[in-house]
Symmetry: D2
Subunit: 298 residues, 4 copies
């Protein structure tokens, strides 16, 4: 927001840090208590409150006349999805975002995985009844900034491990709901891992398909033609291609030497940008009638 040419920061609230300041992008920002928020003065409010605590403030902000981008999971599909609140996976729901008063900003894993899968699903190419297997890995900022022993440097460096195995990750409901809405008849196996990097998500997705495509990237090229924040690559994307940028990079190859036609789709995003704050600004730009790319690092 501080670096955005079309936005002005009216206030920043943070109960636990109320009264403190932080140096952000060369500017010193003071935090106020949530209750002191001058909601009536805001044209748009970003709510990054914890899951469960956010919905109430979304209502308060909306009641005060502000548009709202909710970064929590409270209003996302598969969670407490509310009527009239579009899911802000911008490239798929741009039209609904344009006229929305409130947008539910997607989770970081769902952003990477759903943008990667949507073109296949919408064209009916995923094999009906089949399981899509997703192995994903995230940098540690994906776990937030609360100090936890298992996120200390000495515990994470030189390590790699899966977590929330057995389809227990809280983002799974969001992904299932969206692929169903898109028309998929597929199950998901989702195994996230913790990477010894600060930021970035890479998802490697094995998708049984109805038939082997000639040019595997064609489906995405058609679906995402002209999209400013989607990059399609013949080489497998890597985290360093996307960190500090509001983009997703997607590659697709055909698995060789097996009987069932199967695609290997790989997607990479920065979990803090396209997977969170960047996409939130992208949605805000649209809601406020500004250029969608304004203030965003491409």
């Amino acid at each position: 927001v501080l670096q955005h040419p079309g936005l002005h920061l009216e206030f920043a609230s943070a109960n636990s840090q109320a009264g403190q300041t932080a140096l952000i992008a060369g500017q010193r920002v003071g935090f106020i208590d949530n209750e002191e928020s001058a909601l009536a003065d805001a044209a748009l409010v970003f709510s990054a409150l914890p899951h469960g605590a956010s919905a109430e403030w979304v209502d308060r902000a909306a009641a005060s006349g502000a548009k709202v981008v909710d970064l929590s999971s409270d209003l996302r599909p598969g969670n407490g999805h509310a009527d009239g609140v579009p899911y802000g996976l911008t490239e798929l729901t741009r039209q609904a975002v344009e006229s929305a008063a409130v947008v539910a900003n997607p989770g970081c894993y769902p952003t990477a995985i759903l943008l990667a899968l949507a073109p296949l699903i919408k064209k009916g190419l995923t094999k009906p009844g089949a399981t899509i297997s997703i192995s994903a890995a995230s940098g540690v900022t994906g776990a937030g900034f609360t100090p936890r022993p298992d996120l200390l440097f000495a515990e994470v460096t030189e390590d790699f491990r899966a977590y929330s195995v057995a389809n227990q990750h809280r983002h799974l409901a969001e992904m299932r709901a969206v692929i169903a809405e898109l028309g998929a008849d597929n199950d998901l196996v989702f195994v996230p891992h913790l990477l010894p990097v600060a930021r970035g998500i890479l998802a490697t997705i094995t998708v049984p398909v109805t038939e082997e495509p000639g040019n595997p990237l064609e489906v995405w090229e058609e679906a995402y033609s002209g999209e400013p924040f989607i990059e399609l690559t013949s080489e497998a994307p890597s985290l360093r291609d996307v960190v500090r940028r509001n983009v997703i990079r997607i590659s697709c190859t055909v698995a060789k030497g097996i009987r069932q036609p199967t695609l290997i789709v790989i997607a990479a995003i920065d979990n803090l940008v396209k997977g969170a704050a960047g996409q939130a600004v992208q949605n805000a730009n649209i809601m406020l009638g500004m250029d969608e790319t304004l203030g965003l690092p491409a």
Copy 2:
């Protein structure tokens, strides 16, 4: 070998470093030219020559009367497998190794993946005709020690990427051959990734099965009872559990909320120990009639 109580290093050859010395485990070791190797003086030879160059020296060493552990892929299943040369995945082939003159030491990825899959396959539990999806990640020592721009610290730190996508990894033939020998009617999708860590391999395997087991670890407990280097865990294993040790750690959970009964099997090893030199010593111990665990870090 230097720290092994039952072995004595007769010579170490290394053409590219012939004439040089290295400090290993507190002892200074000199390297000779391969051609100066006193093969006749050796009871056992470890050949760690490059793929393609090793087979000839295995023959020369065997002809001189030495037993041989070949760490290259030259004699492995799916490559140039030779009759009478057992595959040294010790826990599966111990009896054949005992009486062998030459053993083909497994690759690092196959060690982790095959030890993880074998108990399921041998009990006929993998779903016939189904695809097993393997997402694996390796530390950079898996790529060897030849300086390459893409392995420089500045290129690897804070990055993560897949490589040899589309079932193009050279270890795939080895894995396919072994699971077929074990009786599996399954295809493999194998996507390896490069981790920003020095050592360690973690494989996350999605396996369609004929039916959901009650206690998912039971199959492995039964197959690997009493094995000194196999650790079964209810929690997903991590690299730091296994680095610098000659062990594999395996976990298994049932994927929840999907129609096709599916297991998520995760295995971790140190690619330089259980995935290479450690397993080579384990095989050598057996071939020489010594205690299998001698000189190996548990």
Copy 3:
């Protein structure tokens, strides 16, 4: 240059990569052979050729009428310094840079260390005859991009070591020459270290002074008042404060409990930005009569 609103890239030469292209800041750039460089079409040339090879091309570019920023050490003080070629430590030599045809862009360590020491030296506060002790650490990009075994990820991660000990670093002559020009009667002990990070330099400098200052930062505040790229902090600076930015951050504290009045000055820069390309653009901006901050990340 590609992201600079006042510059246009006419050509990029790179003998070893001639004919290849690279994706830089979202644009694909082709490299030509040095000899194909259309020097006459360039208003300004950045020479980043190796030390020893650069001076000749600086002459050729200057002869063709282009202004030149030389990033090699060929023309720096203490090396082959040439008359009329100012040293481009911008904050100290701005006036000379304004009218220069050729500027010698400083080395990365000298940028951090000289900007940190200059205010003290110019006020005559360093103790005459005393030794200034500099312990500095650099990320691995400071060593360039040529693949070397000791710069492989597996060799650098979890390690830390000094190099060029005993005052043998090639940047020492540059620093000695400049502090002498500034009027210092001091010796330097300089010990650089290799950090397991990609980028950034931190220099910790112990300076015997003639007397203990009341407010240790005052000397720098006075010297650098209004400078857009110099940040003075009461807390010790860290690499993450400066990476990807064209700034230097400097702190100063008085060593407590010792007899000789002594300051501990700490400076941090990004070796690739303020320590190289960023400062080069800063100098180019001045040489071309543009706003000094144009195109530079603050």
Copy 4:
């Protein structure tokens, strides 16, 4: 202790984890409440309680007849040093340790720095009245295992920073007291830094000396002849030379091109081994009349 052939673990207490177990070196160890400690059954007690809380338990353990190695700073020189409690910098105080009932185990930074400086000081080679400048860096385990926001992986990776600048580190009193006891008339400037590595300390020490030595390492070779855990090297030591080992590596070079004869002494240890638990076991071995090297990784 678990891997030590001459020791048997009688109990392990840990108030905050009482009732919990941990897997250590392949064995499961249960923690009891401190008050349940069967001190009377112990021949030797290691106290690793926090500074301030340890002294009382040292007294209780000693009163029960156990020998005690205290890893806290409570009884160290410069802190609450007690008569008859030798400082356990083993190579300097072996004789006192042999007959001691209680030993104060040194801090990690002091271990590296004092073992490096002692031979120079004892020979009277440090320049009287001069300041010795110490720049040291530690891996994050030096800060303990309490979760702190500034020790999270995402805050430490790719960063480097000084802390406790201005001679404010709590280990300084310990170092000052010991060098004074050894006969030095020198001040210390000590600037520690936080490294993005899990373990290891490297100290780079600039020492003004009375005269330039011919062979700079000779002083150490003479002082430490036959020491099993001291390694002298002509090349600057690095962390990877010492991690997971109970050794200190020391190098010394003469600073070239300066007027005041000055040595650059570099020392590296593993802060968790020679800088803490390893040296504690080394002391215990001596106190119990066992081989000093027993159970210690060389």
